[in-house]
């Protein structure tokens, strides 16, 4: 009997403690709940919640301008794309996120596959954004465009020697190709595009060929590949166009010097076209502020904003009415891969497997 009493006491105390701990927590929550209540009042004038993996300062500037123009407040969580997707999917119906914004079509497709996005019909978006740069079901839209180009040493390489991505696997380039690790999403999407265009087997042969011709084990980011050329480690590098633009305009004079010794080549002009990718955005399935979300998307695709948006990061605008910056124009026009970018995502898992199988570090 005595023992039983003790147990009851313990259990009672436990329950009380748990409840108290819970209260402590929800008090904590309540204080931020008050913030929420405050922002709910604002909601009448409007707000929109954005999950983004882009972290350019220009984005913040544009969001601020949007708020000024429309009165709609933009709340932001910045993170890594994959983890934001995981977070969205765990939050499910209850999510506060209205928009998902990231710099790779493959990831956007993945968010769609996980049933995290919803279709959006908007004449403005249809008009501003070319069809192949948006999802087939309109679940996401591209906003800025970048090309994965070949950068070469002006001294050591005659551009006439360059032709295609595939040509870089020839013996001639043994020990001369610089490219970053396979963990990088841009390389995964590149291989995905080859799977779409040429089939799995060819894509694997290509990856194998590149690994064979690598000047060194993959390391560093895209900028490091460019530096590798000038440092004499290799002759050509595969990198995203905007990194090259950033280097030409770097605040570090040494980086500018490096970039000036290099030049951009758009591969596969005679064949399948140069690989492009986008930064894109989609409305989440359980968005609470759908209208505001679409407003922000339309704003971002409008001609005025596209100009600033793309130029600040040396990207290509998706809006055809807007011309790319002078720098990008100086690199010339180029033929793009004829591919709906959704396919980059559809093939991503296969691409990752291929890259692992050929031991691309």
């Amino acid at each position: 009997m005595h023992k039983k009493n003790l147990f009851t006491t313990i259990i009672m105390v436990l329950i009380v403690a748990v409840i108290m701990a819970g209260c402590g927590k929800s008090n904590d929550g309540a204080s931020s709940g008050n913030d929420k209540a405050a922002s709910k009042e604002e909601k009448n004038s409007g707000e929109v919640n954005l999950y983004t993996s882009r972290h350019y300062d220009v984005d913040d500037q544009i969001f601020a301008d949007f708020t000024k123009e429309t009165g709609i407040k933009v709340n932001v969580i910045k993170g890594k794309e994959d983890e934001l997707i995981e977070r969205l999917s765990r939050e499910g119906k209850a999510t506060k996120g209205d928009l998902f914004f990231t710099s790779d079509a493959g990831r956007l497709h993945w968010a769609k596959e996980k049933d995290l996005l919803q279709s959006v019909e908007s004449e403005t978006l249809n008009k501003n954004i070319p069809e192949n740069l948006a999802d087939k079901d309109k679940q996401w839209y591209g906003l800025t465009k970048r090309a994965r180009v070949i950068v070469y040493s002006k001294d050591k390489v005659d551009p006439s020697e360059l032709s295609t991505y595939e040509a870089l696997t020839e013996d001639k380039w043994k020990g001369k190709v610089l490219i970053r690790s396979s963990e990088n999403i841009y390389n995964q999407s590149l291989v995905s595009s080859f799977i779409s265009l040429n089939g799995k087997e060819e894509a694997k042969n290509w990856a194998e060929g590149i690994v064979k011709n690598m000047a060194r084990d993959p390391q560093g980011g895209d900028r490091d590949q460019a530096k590798g050329i000038v440092a004499g480690e290799g002759d050509v590098a595969i990198m995203n166009s905007y990194y090259f633009g950033q280097m030409l305009n770097s605040e570090d004079p040494e980086e500018v010097k490096v970039a000036k010794q290099l030049s951009v080549f758009f591969p596969n002009q005679e064949t399948t076209g140069t690989h492009i990718n986008i930064s894109g955005i989609g409305v989440t399935k359980y968005a609470k502020n759908k209208e505001n979300a679409i407003k922000l998307m339309e704003y971002l695709s409008s001609a005025d904003v596209q100009k600033v948006f793309a130029e600040a990061n040396y990207e290509y605008p998706v809006n055809k009415e807007v011309e790319p910056s002078e720098l990008l124009k100086s690199w010339g026009e180029f033929k793009e891969q004829d591919l709906n970018l959704s396919e980059l995502g559809e093939n991503n898992a296969d691409a990752v497997k291929i890259l692992n199988e050929v031991s691309w570090k």
């Binding site: 005595h2 023992k3 003790l6 313990i10 436990l14 403690a17 701990a21 927590k25 929800s26 904590d28 929550g29 309540a30 931020s32 709940g33 929420k36 919640n49 972290h55 300062d57 932001v76 969580i77 910045k78 993170g79 890594k80 994959d82 983890e83 995981e86 977070r87 765990r90 939050e91 119906k93 209850a94 999510t95 506060k96 993945w110 970053r180 690790s181 963990e183 995964q188 060194r216 084990d217 390391q219 560093g220 980011g221 490091d224 530096k227 590798g228 440092a231 480690e233 950033q246 605040e251 570090d252 040494e254 010097k257 898992a349 990752v352 497997k353 692992n356 199988e357 031991s359 570090k361």
Partner: protein
Amino acid sequence: MLYLIRKMRSQFNSWALLSFIFSILIILPALLIMVQLFAESNENWEHIKEFMLKNYIINSVTLVIFTGLFTVIIGVCAAWLVTAYTFPLQRFFKWGMILPLAIPPYIGAYTYHGILNYTGVIQTNLRNHFDIKVDQKFFDIMNIPGAIFIFTLFLYPYVFIITRSFLENQSSSLIENARILGKSSFQTFIQVVLPISRTAIVGGVSLVILEVFNDYGVVKYFGIQTFSTAIFQAWFGMGDIQSAIKLAGTLMVIVVFILIAEKLIRGRKRYSYSTSKVRPLQPKELKGWKKYSVLSLFLTWFAFAFLIPSIQLLQWVYMTYDVILNEVFLDLIWNSVFVASIGSALIVITALIIANFSRLSKGWFSQFFSKITVLGYSLPGAVIAIGVLTLFLALDQKVIVLYEWIGLEPTLVLSLSISMLIFAYVVRFLAVGYNSIESGFEKVGTAFTDASRTLGMSVTKTFFKVDIKMIKGAVAGGFILVFVDILKELPLTLILQPFNFYTLATKTFQYASDERIHEASVSSIVIIFISALSIFFLHKVLEKEPK
């Protein structure tokens, strides 16, 4: 029967209760993840096993072994030299050698890469002023030896701190006896210092090992595939949570193995004060060439581990501060300091309760709690983050029902509040605070507590009147170590941050991941500055502690 009840009573008091609740809270997120460990393996797992697993193991183990070895050599030698000898600047190095802890390894990694690469300061100067072009091989740091170099530079303080404070307080009689018996310095070091301080060394190096296993920033930046990059690759790259958890589980098994080994090596040896007066070791004066060679060794090391990276960062700050510094930046500092303070305070309180309970009642029950605290430290930040998120979302679901019942619209309260982030910090870093407090308790033993109890004070009264006063230093030390850790923390913060909430670490990451290293320097240097300041306080606190 009566005996049993009495036993239960002595085990189950309010201390037990609180320990129990805290432990459950801490173990829950991990459990939510771990249930998936036993799920059937799928196609991806086979793929990982076939093509990648061997590589991960080799790379991770190589990093751990060499970093462990080097941190021990440097940490122990430095600790011995600053406690047993006097030489110029010796008083400064006593805490100065801890300063590299202020530099998160990922910041160290990109700073050193920035110094050494083609457009870095060394090569640029050689090229522009001396017209020397060097072979890139000699300046390539982005490989396994490079990572070991970085880890050693910025993690050895863990070994140094623990070994130094042990040598200072515990070893005087043994070492002085060895000296009297005519042993040379070297003999004393090998035959006396190393064996008696092995507990401290092992304690320090196991922290280093866990840090290396958990590191994501350095290995990702250097392109080295390890367990932690693999977990991310499987989870986020392949979208395969099961395989990721199998990897995390494999890692946990290794970690648990290491922790058991640590216990075994520590053995049953316990050194606690046998008298109320602990005599600190009297340092000997170094003379002549010895003095200068020791000094130059310390200076060189300090330059590599602290001065050079800081100066480089300052130069980058000079290049970019006008763009980066604005009011928003002040918010970053405030956010970082705010979450770090709250998190550290909670950890210290939790650690005090569990540690006090587990030292006073020796049953398996209490020992079990003390082991649980380490769990969070052995899991990668991202894994904990997802576990905590799952837990809070589940709680929110409950709250939503309540909300709907009251008539409010369904929404997330807990999992979008900062309490989720802080809770995750507690799970992740409890071990750091706990270790410090536990070692404080170990040092004072239970003699004084027992005396107080005999005199009729309750456990709780004794705790406030006797115990806590004796381990003030350890409490402060634990607080500051955790504070610095939270300030530097990245993966967990990235996943769990509320809307419009950034810290210095996440800001640094945003620039660094965009290959804008120069812009990342401002937030990096502030992290380093605040951490360094905290370390200085730690030193002051420990200095004041009655010896």
